[in-house]
Symmetry: C2
Subunit: 249 residues, 2 copies
C-alpha cells in the first residue's frame, strides 16, 4: 500500500477504496534515492510524477550566486511533483534531502484517470492546491515574521504535517535536516539559524538535535510562530479514526 498516506486525512479529499486502488495500480515503479540528489531539473519535460513514500524531499530555486531558496519540503504521503502533469515542465528543481523512497506514476496513467475518474482527478487537483496553500503560509513566514518566529512557524508546520502522516506524536519527530537546510527554508543564514535554535532551546520551547525535533512547549511555539494550521486542510475527525475506518468512509 504505497499510497497509504496520500491525502490521508485531508478535509473533503480523502480517497475511497476504489480510488486508492486505482492510484496504486498507476504506479509503474518504486525507487530509492540517496540524500541530496537532484531528481528533476527546472525546465526539462517530465512524463511522470513522484509520490514520496519515505524520507524527505524538497523543491528549490537558485539565485544568481547559486544560493538556494527552498520553496517546499515534502514528507511521506506527498505527491510532490504532481503539478508536472498539467504543467509538463517544472519551474524549479526537485531534490532529496535524506534517504528516500518514492513511487513513480507515469503521466499516461494520470491521463487515463483524468478521462475516467473526475472525482479522483479533483482530489489530485486538491493535492496540488494544498501545496499552493503551504506556499502562501511560507510567504507569510518570510514576509512578516522575524527569524525566531520563522523557525518556530516552520517547526510547527512540519510537526502538524508529520502528525497528519502518522510520523509525529505531536511532541517529537525525526527530521533529517541540517541547520543549513532550515536556513534555506527560512531565508536566513546558517549562523543565525544556529542563534535562533539556541534561543528556542534556552526558552525551553523546542530542541532540535541530531535529526530529532522535540517540542517542549507546543502552545508557546505555536504562539511565537503565529502558526494557525487551517491552511493544511486537516480533517480532525478523519484524523482520529484508524486508517481502516478512514478508507471505508
Amino acid at each position: 500500500m504505497f499510497t497509504e498516506r496520500f491525502l490521508r486525512d485531508k478535509r473533503g479529499a480523502i480517497l475511497t477504496i476504489a480510488e486508492r486502488a486505482r492510484l496504486e495500480a498507476a504506479i509503474s515503479e518504486v525507487k530509492t534515492y540517496r540524500p541530496r540528489k537532484i531528481i528533476a531539473h527546472a525546465g526539462e519535460p517530465l512524463n511522470q510524477s513522484t509520490l514520496l513514500i519515505e524520507g524527505f524531499m524538497c523543491r528549490y530555486l537558485d539565485d544568481r550566486a547559486g544560493l538556494r531558496q527552498l520553496v517546499a519540503i515534502h514528507v511521506p504521503g506527498d505527491f510532490l511533483d504532481l503539478h508536472a502533469f498539467p504543467l509538463k515542465t517544472l519551474d524549479h528543481d526537485v531534490a532529496s534531502l535524506t534517504n528516500a523512497t518514492a513511487a513513480i506514476v507515469p503521466h499516461s496513467e494520470l491521463e487515463a484517470i483524468a478521462e475516467e475518474m473526475p472525482a479522483l482527478t479533483r482530489k489530485l487537483w486538491f493535492s496540488t492546491l494544498l501545496d499552493a496553500a503551504i506556499h502562501r503560509a511560507w510567504l507569510f513566514r518570510l514576509g512578516r515574521l522575524d527569524a525566531t518566529a520563522r523557525v518556530a512557524h516552520f517547526l510547527c508546520e512540519t510537526n502538524a504535517r508529520l502528525v497528519s502522516a502518522g510520523l509525529s506524536d505531536g511532541r517529537r519527530f525525526a527530521l533529517g535536516l541540517t541547520q543549513a537546510d532550515v536556513a534555506e527554508i527560512c531565508g536566513l543564514t546558517t549562523v543565525h539559524v544556529n542563534r535562533v535554535m539556541r534561543h528556542l532551546r534556552e526558552e525551553r520551547l523546542c530542541v532540535f538535535r541530531s535529526s530529532l525535533v522535540e517540542i517542549l512547549d507546543p502552545a508557546g511555539l505555536t504562539a511565537l510562530g503565529q502558526f494557525n494550521p487551517a491552511y493544511l486542510y486537516i480533517d480532525d475527525e478523519a484524523h482520529s479514526l484508524s486508517p481502516v475506518q478512514r478508507s471505508a468512509s
Copy 2:
C-alpha cells in the same frame, strides 16, 4: 467575451473555441467592485469563483498585529479564486485593489465541466498551478533578494503578466497600487519602498508615479531583480499571434 484574456497565451493550455464558449456560458453574473473591498474571507465556504475582467485584485494573509502580507496580485484574465472549487474554503482573504470588474462562475457549472470536459478541466487545473508557480517566485523574492531587487523583480513580473494580458507594451503600464501596497507585497515598510523607488528613479531604471509604471531600462531592471519569466509559462509564439489566430489553433 469576458473570458478573452484567460490563459491567453499560456504554453500548452490555450483554450479551444468550444472550451472558451463553454466557460463563457458558465458565467452567471458580472460584478463591479470599489477599490479596497474585501471579496472573500478566509475560512468561509465558497460556491462560486471569480474571473477578473478589469482592474487589480489581491489575496493576503494577516499577521497577529493586523499587518497584511499579500500572497498574490491579480491582473485581468486571472481566474483568481478558482482554487476555491476543489478546496471549498480559502485559507486567505481576497480583496480588490482598484475599481474592478469580475465574472462570477458558480461551482455547479465547474462541476459540470469537470464531469464532461476533461481537457478543459486540465486547463483550469493548469491555471491554478500557474498561481502556485508565481507563489514560488515570490518566495524566492522574499527569501533571497534585498529590498531593491525585490521591487525590481515585482515590477518585471507585473510587466510580463500585463504584456501577456495585452495591457502593457513592455515599457509602460498602468498599475493602481500605492507604495504601501508594494510594501505589503515585498515584505518591506512603506518608508523603505519609497527609498527604493527613488533609487530606481535615480539609476534611470524605472519610474513609478501616479499609478503609472515606466520601465526605462528593461535589461537593467531584469538583471537587478534576477527576473526570469520562465515560471509564467508564456508561449512566445502564441503571444505573437492575434487573438483570432490563437482561438483557431
